[in-house]
């Protein structure tokens, strides 16, 4: 049956409309769970708030389990879903830069826009920083291109490249996630509380 748009159950033209609706819902949930506060986001690095870890890990777990059940029951064709292309060094370097930006600025790109929407000045400066970064990248594109386009490994998933059963992987991933939640709670209790 699914995915709905590639299988023409919903016309292709609705793509952007649905994207906007999902985007609004996503932004609303981010804001209402406090993710537009840079202190909450940075808390995961300092150990006083692990909401980011918990939310994103839970989201990943729920969606991966849900997608596999739907695939099993025939509601979604797993092989038709988009798998992000894997550029090894691009991902590593980009991830490191983004991580530094995350710790230093207290936002990731999505939450920064969310915070701009509620009028946070630090987020506005952060977004200007993103724009400067985009500008620099575009200007030096020919210089960065070998890394940006190179070391391409195709649209692979972890289970394909490691050649393990996705079902066992999900189970271990779930257990790992729950251990991470428990550990992060223990850390949070030991760290001095920060009010923000």
């Amino acid at each position: 049956m699914g995915p709905l748009i590639p299988n023409d159950l919903i016309p292709f033209e609705w793509n952007l409309v649905i994207a906007i609706i999902i985007g609004i819902a996503f932004g609303y949930i981010l804001e209402s769970s406090g993710f537009s506060s840079s202190r909450k986001l940075a808390g995961v690095f300092y150990g006083y708030d692990f909401a980011v870890l918990k939310v994103f890990f839970t989201a990943a777990l729920v969606s991966v389990i849900g997608i596999f059940y739907m695939d099993y029951l025939g509601y979604v064709d797993f092989s038709m879903l988009y798998v992000h292309p894997f550029y090894l060094w691009g991902a590593l370097i980009g991830g490191a830069i983004m991580g530094v930006g995350f710790v230093a600025g207290g936002f990731c790109p999505g939450t920064s826009l969310c915070a701009v929407a509620i009028g946070k000045i630090d987020a506005m400066i952060y977004v200007i920083g993103i724009m400067i970064g985009v500008f620099i990248f575009s200007e030096f594109y020919s210089f960065f291109e070998p890394i940006y386009d190179g070391y391409f490994y195709g649209n692979i998933t972890l289970t394909e490249s490691l050649n393990i059963s996705p079902y066992w992987f999900i189970l271990f991933f779930t257990i790992f996630g729950i251990i991470a939640f428990a550990l992060s709670d223990m850390v949070r209790k030991k760290v001095k509380k920060v009010f923000y």
């Binding site: 389990i65 099993y72 079902y167 066992w168 189970l171 779930t174 996630g177």
Partner: protein
Amino acid sequence: MINRNLVKALRYRYVLLAVGLILLAGGLVLLPKQEKHKGITSAELLSNAISPERYMSTDEIAHKIVNQDPSILLIDVRDSLNYQKYSLPNALNIPLPKLLDDNSMTFLNQDQYEVVFFSNDNFDADKAWIISNRLGFKNIHVLKGGLNSWFKTIINPTMPEENMPANAFEQYRFRKAASMYFGVVYPESVIQQSTEQKKVPKKVITVKKKKKSTPEGGC
């Protein structure tokens, strides 16, 4: 009282959620695995199989061969012995058991050529078509009636009777000309042979082109 119980239960809410997640993930591992079929769904396959769209007539194929249409790829699905005895010009031989070999995949799994399967009748070719259609290959056709029909209509066309419509005669003329192209010699053409023998294949092209150009001009 009820509230206090609820509060007590809710103290374990995160534990309960965690256990729920683990149970769901464990369920995935324990579920009996089923083989997933590749290619199109069975309903699609059925509707494709019922539709006669896949068939190409012998006249169409003859026309394409005579005009040296570069887009068609004739594939003989009979065994190699029969293939060596007789086959259509420029046909490839992929016997039905070898249809899913890696070598044949390069011919079947592409979208540049119109692949036409043929066998003695259309049964084996239909089998090949069903398999390739199920795998989702594009532009696969079947020669209607196979080589038997090819012999009946193109190589040895029956002359229409006098009371038959004009297009039957036209079709006969085309078929006769096509059969000449494929090497059949008619007694009347032997007599003309001494004057202009090479005209025969050229004539075929012009005859068909005339037919085609009239509706084009109308549009």
